[in-house]
Assembly symmetry: C2
Homo-oligomer: 479 residues x 2
C-alpha cells in the first residue's frame, strides 16, 4: 500500500469550512476535553454537529452517535478527543465514513517517545490510506471565527476569543497560542484562522501557508515556530507565499538555553538560529522577537501598504514623544527628514504659533483635532515622506474622540498615494478606547509607545524592500 | 543683592507636604488652567486652599482672595497660573507673604526665547531674593497622591491618576509625563511623587533626587530627561542617590534626529548620548529605552531585591514561553542553568509525569496551582539560582485565582533569601486582573511577555552589580 503524501496545501480547506463536524469522544463531563470542544463548537458553529460516544445518548442537548459510522450526512470533519490508544481505530472509522479532515487533540504520540512514535507512524498510515488530512496530534485545535469553527478545548470562562479579522496565526505551541489569542482579544485584534499544529504528523506550516495565501479572509500570516523537520519544504512554501502575502515568524529557541528548552517542550530540534535567519532573509519573512511583536507586525502588514522608501513624518501632540519616535526610527535605519521650506510654510499656516512645523511636527499639548488632521493632509500631499507616524494624546482637552473619523476622511482622500500610517498611543483605558476607533474607522494600527510603532514601520519597510527586490528580479528575468 | 542658590535639595519638601496652598490665577471658567488646578487640588487636598484672583469672589465654592497678601495662615505653597507678564509680580507677592515654594505653570519664558529669557532670569532673582524654591515655569505641575497634592491642570475626565505607590517620577516633558501617568493608572502602578520640572529655572533633577533619596514613600526613582545644562550637578546627585535608592533614566534625544527634535521641544541641548551613557554607567543609573521600560524597571527595583548573581530559574505553564524566556535571558547575559540531579529529583516528585523538571521547569498546561507553588519552593530552597521568572497561564483551567495568595505564602517563608521573583503574563483582561493580585499580595512585578520580564531581571542584575561594585570599593578604602 502506497502512502502518498498529498501535494502541499491539498485538502486543507475542510478544516476551516466544514460541511458537518463529528466530535469523537464527546463527553458529558464539564471540563473534559471532549466536553469543552463540543461546547465551543455548539456556541459558534451553524452547521450540523455530531457527538460520538458509545456510552452516551445525549450531550449538551445533542443526540449522540455510538460510532462515526452511524453519523448521517453531511460530515467531512472529525475532531478526535479519545485516549491515544483509541485514536487509530476512530480515525480509521472516520476515513471509512468519508471524512476528509481529522483534528486529533489527544496527546501521547511522538512527543512522549517510545511507543508514541510507533503510534504516530500508524496514525499517518491510516490517514494516508483514506486520503484524509490530519491536524495534530497533541494540539489545541483550530479556530476560524468567520465560519464558526471553534474546534478547541479552551475554557470559555477563562479564555478570550478574538473576533474575525485579517490575521492568520499558526502556532507550534498550543498553550502559548491560547494565551496569545486571549491577549489578542483584549487588544481588539481580529483573527482569520488559528491553527495549533501540534506534532505536525501530516498538516504542517507549508500546507497551511499554501491555503492561507489563497484565503481571501487572510491579509497577513503570523507563525510561532520552535523547530521544523523539513526545512526545504517550509522554505519553498515561504518563497511562494511572501510575494502574495506578508508572513511574520517568531522563531523560538534562538539561544542555546532556548534550544534546550524547545527540545524538552515539543521535541523539536531548534536548529541553528543563523540558518533560520538566512532562510527568513532569503524568502522575505519578517522576523519577530516576541508574540506581541509578531502581532504588531502582522497588524501593520494587514492594514497598511508596505513602505516604498525610508522617510517618515512624525506628527505629535507631545514633544517628548516626537523626540523618542525620532530616536527609535533613526536606530532602525529610517529617516525623519526636515521638511522643505514650502511644506514648513504650509504647516506653519495651519498650526499654533508655539507649534513646530519641522519634522517631527509638534502640534503641542494646546492643539485641537484640526491641527493633527491638517498636518496629516499637508504631509501626505508633500511627496516628501514614505510613511506617517501619528502620536495623538487623548488625555488632553483639545484632542477629541472625533479625531479617528476626521483622520479616516483625510486618509480616504489620499488612499491612492499608498503611504502607510501608524499611530502610537500612551495612556489609559479612555485613550485606548479612542485608539481602537483609529484602527476600526481609519485602518490605522495603533501601538502602545513610540518604540513599537517605529518597529511596525520597520516591518512595513522590510516587506516593502522585499517586494521591490523580487519585482526587480522579475524585471531582469523578463529582459 | 546676592542671588544665592540654595544647597541641593534644600526646601524642596514643601512641594510635597505643604501646610496650605494658594492658587494664584484661580479661574471660574471650566477648562482654564486656573480652574483645573484648583479643581484638582480641591478633589484631593485636605489642608487649607486659597484661590487668588482680584476679579472673583468665589470659585468652586471657595472664597477668593484678591491677592496672596490677603491670604491667612497657614500658606507655604503657591501655584501660579497667570499670564507670563503677571508672573513676576505675583511671585514677588508670594515671597513677601512668606510662601516657601512656588509652582509656575505659566508658559512664555526661556522656551520662547527673546524676552522670555529675560523674564525667566528676573523670575529667578525674585525667587532667590525671598529664599523660595520654584518648580517650572512652563510645567504641568506636581502630583503627590499620599499628601493630596494634585497641583496639575490635568483634565480629570480624560486623565487617569495613579494611586499612591513606591515609584517617584520626574519628567522634563509635561505632556509626556501626563500620558505616562494615565498609562500607569491603567496598569495599576502606584506613584509616590510626580514632578513636571518644566524649564528647571530653579528646582532641577538634582534637587529632587536629594529629596527623594530620603523620602520614605519612594523606593525607586524614574526620570525622563531630554537635556541637562549642569551635568556635573546631576552627576553628583546621581552618585549620592544610587547607593541608597535605584534610579532609572530614560534619556531621549539619543540619535541626531531625536536631538534635533529635543532642541525644538524643550530647547535642550541633548548632548552626546555617549556622554550620558558614560555618566549613567559611572553612577549606577539603570538606563531605559522607553517610558514603559522605565516603569518596568522602576517597578521591579521598587518591589524586589537586586540580583546578586546571573542564574535564573524559569517556572512556566507553557513550554513555548519557557523557550522564549530562555532566549531573552540568554541574550541579556543571564543564565538558565540546568538544575542539579538532586533538585531535578525533588521537582520530579511534585510534578506531573509529562512535566519537565529541568530549567525551565515546564509544569505543563495540565498543571494545577500546587505544581507552580511547590516548584517555586524547591527552586528557592535549592541555592542554585539568583532569581525566579514565573510564567503562569491564567487562561487555563488548572491555574486558579488563588495562585497569588499561595505564592505570597511561599515567598514570605523564604524572604530572608533575598531572591527576586518576577512574572510574565500573556493574556486578556481576566488574566491581568489575577496578575495584578500577584503584585498586590505577593509583591511580584508582572510583565506582559517574557521579553519585558527578562529585561526587568536584567535591571535588577545591573543594579545588583552596581551595589556589589561600590560595596567592593568601600571595602578597599576601609582596608
Amino acid at each position: 500500500m502506497a502512502l502518498i503524501r498529498p501535494p502541499i496545501g491539498d485538502g486543507v480547506e475542510v478544516f476551516f469550512r466544514p460541511q458537518g463536524i463529528a466530535v469523537i469522544g464527546a463527553s458529558r463531563v464539564p471540563g473534559k476535553v471532549g466536553y469543552m470542544v463540543l461546547y465551543n463548537l455548539k456556541s459558534m458553529y451553524k452547521g450540523p454537529l455530531y457527538p460520538v460516544n458509545p456510552r452516551a445518548r445525549e450531550v449538551l442537548g445533542l443526540p449522540v452517535y455510538p460510532s462515526i459510522l452511524d453519523v448521517p450526512d453531511p460530515v467531512d470533519l472529525a475532531v478526535v478527543a479519545v485516549p491515544a490508544q483509541a485514536v487509530l481505530r476512530v480515525v480509521d472509522e472516520a476515513g471509512r465514513r468519508g471524512v476528509r479532515g481529522v483534528i486529533v487533540l489527544s496527546a501521547g504520540f511522538r512527543e512522549v517517545g517510545g511507543e508514541g512514535i510507533t503510534l504516530e507512524k500508524k496514525l499517518i498510515e491510516i490517514v494516508r490510506k483514506h486520503g484524509m488530512r490530519l491536524i495534530g496530534p497533541n494540539c489545541i485545535g483550530v479556530y476560524s471565527p468567520s465560519t464558526g469553527v471553534n474546534a478547541t478545548f479552551f475554557d470559555p470562562n477563562r479564555q478570550g476569543l478574538p473576533g474575525p479579522g485579517p490575521i492568520a496565526f499558526i502556532s507550534q505551541s498550543g498553550a502559548l497560542g491560547a494565551a496569545v489569542l486571549d491577549w489578542a482579544e483584549a487588544r481588539g485584534i481580529g483573527i482569520s484562522r488559528f491553527v495549533s499544529v501540534g506534532n505536525k504528523a501530516d498538516v504542517d506550516e507549508a500546507d497551511l501557508l499554501a491555503f492561507l495565501r489563497r484565503d481571501s479572509e487572510t491579509r497577513s500570516i503570523a507563525m510561532y515556530i520552535e523547530g521544523v523537520s523539513e526545512g526545504s519544504r517550509l522554505r519553498r512554501a515561504l518563497e511562494e507565499t511572501t510575494p502574495v502575502k506578508p508572513v511574520v515568524v517568531l522563531k523560538a529557541g534562538r539561544s542555546d538555553a532556548g534550544a534546550r528548552a524547545a527540545a524538552s517542550h515539543t521535541g523539536s530540534l531548534a536548529g541553528s538560529y543563523q540558518l533560520y535567519q538566512a532562510v527568513f532573509r532569503q524568502t522575505g519573512v519578517v522576523p519577530a522577537r516576541s508574540p506581541e511583536e509578531m502581532f504588531d507586525f502582522a497588524l501593520a502588514l494587514a492594514l497598511q501598504p508596505p513602505m516604498t522608501g525610508d522617510r517618515v513624518a512624525v506628527i505629535t501632540v507631545g514633544g517628548g514623544s516626537g523626540v523618542m519616535a525620532s530616536d527609535e526610527l533613526s536606530e532602525l535605519g529610517l529617516h525623519v527628514p526636515e521638511f522643505s521650506p514650502e511644506t514648513q510654510a504650509r504647516l506653519r499656516r495651519v498650526l499654533l504659533p508655539i507649534a513646530s512645523p519641522r519634522n517631527p511636527v509638534d502640534v503641542t499639548g494646546s492643539a485641537v483635532d484640526e491641527h493633527m488632521v491638517e498636518s496629516l493632509r499637508i504631509v501626505l500631499e508633500s511627496g516628501e515622506v514614505d510613511a506617517v507616524l501619528l502620536i495623538p494624546y487623548f488625555n488632553l482637552s483639545g484632542i477629541t474622540d472625533q479625531l479617528p473619523d476626521k483622520l479616516a476622511k483625510v486618509l480616504h482622500e489620499y488612499s491612492d498615494r499608498r503611504i502607510p500610517v501608524v499611530a502610537s498611543v500612551t495612556g489609559g483605558a479612555r485613550a485606548w478606547s479612542i485608539a481602537r476607533r483609529l484602527e476600526k474607522v481609519a485602518g490605522i494600527p495603533v501601538y502602545p509607545g513610540e518604540a513599537r510603532a517605529a518597529r511596525a514601520l520597520w516591518a512595513l519597510r522590510l516587506y516593502g524592500r522585499w517586494l521591490q527586490y523580487i519585482g526587480e528580479i522579475q524585471e531582469i528575468s523578463k529582459a
